[in-house]
Symmetry: C2
Subunit: 249 residues, 2 copies
DNA sequence: TCAAAAGTGTTAACAGTACACCCATGG
DNA sequence: CCATGGGTGTACTGTTAACACTTTTGA
């Protein structure tokens, strides 16, 4: 039995795995793009990715292809985003592409290949195919998940002050958040925990800030349901541990 | 330029569009399945769907294929769920499948083909391929979205009493909700509106119930961010209108 | 001492839950 | 007038926002 087959009844399509890899750099969300040398869209910028191989699944495919851009362990989070199938998305012929959302913590600065660079998502250069709109989807997904999950762990360094974390959150969700409330909300939810260490104060003085870390380094839903909570099986703690991730995150 | 092409560098795969079409029937969530006559998995139940054709996109493909099961206008909602790519998901050879979530309002009873039937999601028969776990994903997505969007419109009839709606919600989210609070939450959010009409009381008497309808028949996020609301641009009304849907929704 | 930065206390607004009570109908 | 079912009033709780105030450092 062939591992790849096709027939008039079951037409086959080249399938690509793509990733919108996001990172907060200097208080702005950036996406990793590479510059196309060849047609179509020569000179424009594209998401990293490539063809799905016959024996791999999409998740391992995108991880493999990203390995040429960043080291795998630098990717703190990777999740499937959506599949694009517009017949005209590639002028050379029909393709299908499944996009992933990847996140790199802000303290890392992966050495990128020559043709690859970070671009702020709010000022993208000319992009290839439908990649510009995929970046938009990725950003929307990240913003939604910052509110009700602990995805922040994938954007932040291993230890940070509340001021550091605030800068990351403000960049990612796109509007202001006060350090006071950020600290309280995330501490109450059990998303953050104090490391017990202090950071050195800045050159202009000021009280030294406590260092925090994320309590978990894998995705968890921390605010499971805003409404329609299940009837009083819920103790203040129990409701937090509540549920697995559900939707498109 | 061929519309479908392949090469050693760009292997191609048959791509299927599938749908988990859900409906609340007699207070339980059901999924539409058809019984496979042929191998593999002969005799087990599968999600409706079929091959993606060369000139269509996935959304139109699944709509087309569902047309043989239900009338298109009976599907009140359809959204992309996830793409499965396990090389072994089909024993005949490599395939990729993109699953959709479809919803049918509870007052409809589409005439189904011979081999097709509704099955309660909490007591599925033997299923083909990875379809059983796709049903699980679909249910999880529905449950999550019931809390923060108006998806309910796609499960409910055009007009209904709060008691009717409660039955639907309870079935879909899987735990009890009181009619009192359901009404208040959905009215305050502007998700429901009164039609002004009353329903006839039951045979055993009782006050006649008001009839309600959903204010909108397209998906909207009604509880945009449980936390990290943007700073006081938010009037009690404005915060509701807040945002487009983001994530995997 | 003073300015700067971090963190805590406190209040107010708001959403959701729970429950008692009142309303409207059929027998 | 009683049982049945629907709806509203109201109290309570949990969560977040806003802001004042205290703490801790460098100059």
């Amino acid at each position: 039995m062939p591992s790849v087959w096709s027939s008039p009844d079951r037409p086959a399509y080249p399938h690509h795995a793509l990733a919108a890899v996001l990172q907060v750099r200097t208080a702005r969300v950036h996406v990793m793009l590479w510059r196309r040398a060849n047609e179509p869209f020569a000179g424009t910028w594209a998401l990293p990715g490539g063809p799905l191989l016959p024996d791999e699944r999409l998740g391992t495919s995108i991880a493999r292809q990203l390995a040429s851009k960043v080291e795998v362990h630098q990717l703190a989070h990777l999740e499937q985003l959506e599949t694009r199938s517009d017949p005209d998305r590639d002028p050379r012929g029909r393709t299908v592409a499944t996009a992933y959302l990847g996140l790199v913590p802000s303290h890392l600065d992966p050495l990128l290949p020559e043709d690859t660079a970070w671009h702020p998502v709010d000022a993208l250069p000319a992009t290839a195919f439908d990649h510009g709109s995929i970046v938009g989807s990725a950003l929307a997904r990240l913003r939604a998940k910052l509110s009700y999950t602990n995805v922040g762990f994938a954007l932040a360094p291993p230890a940070f002050t509340i001021a550091d974390l605030r800068e990351i959150y403000v960049a990612a969700i796109g509007y202001d958040v006060t350090p006071t409330n950020l600290q309280r909300v995330l501490l109450r939810r059990g998303v953050l925990e104090a490391t017990g260490e202090l950071s050195a104060p800045g050159r202009s003085g000021g009280r030294p800030a406590m260092l925090y870390r994320f309590a978990s380094a894998s995705l968890e839903v921390t605010d499971p349901f805003a409404v329609f909570r299940p009837p009083t099986a819920r103790t203040p703690q129990a409701s937090r541990a509540g549920r697995e991730i559900g939707q498109e995150g």
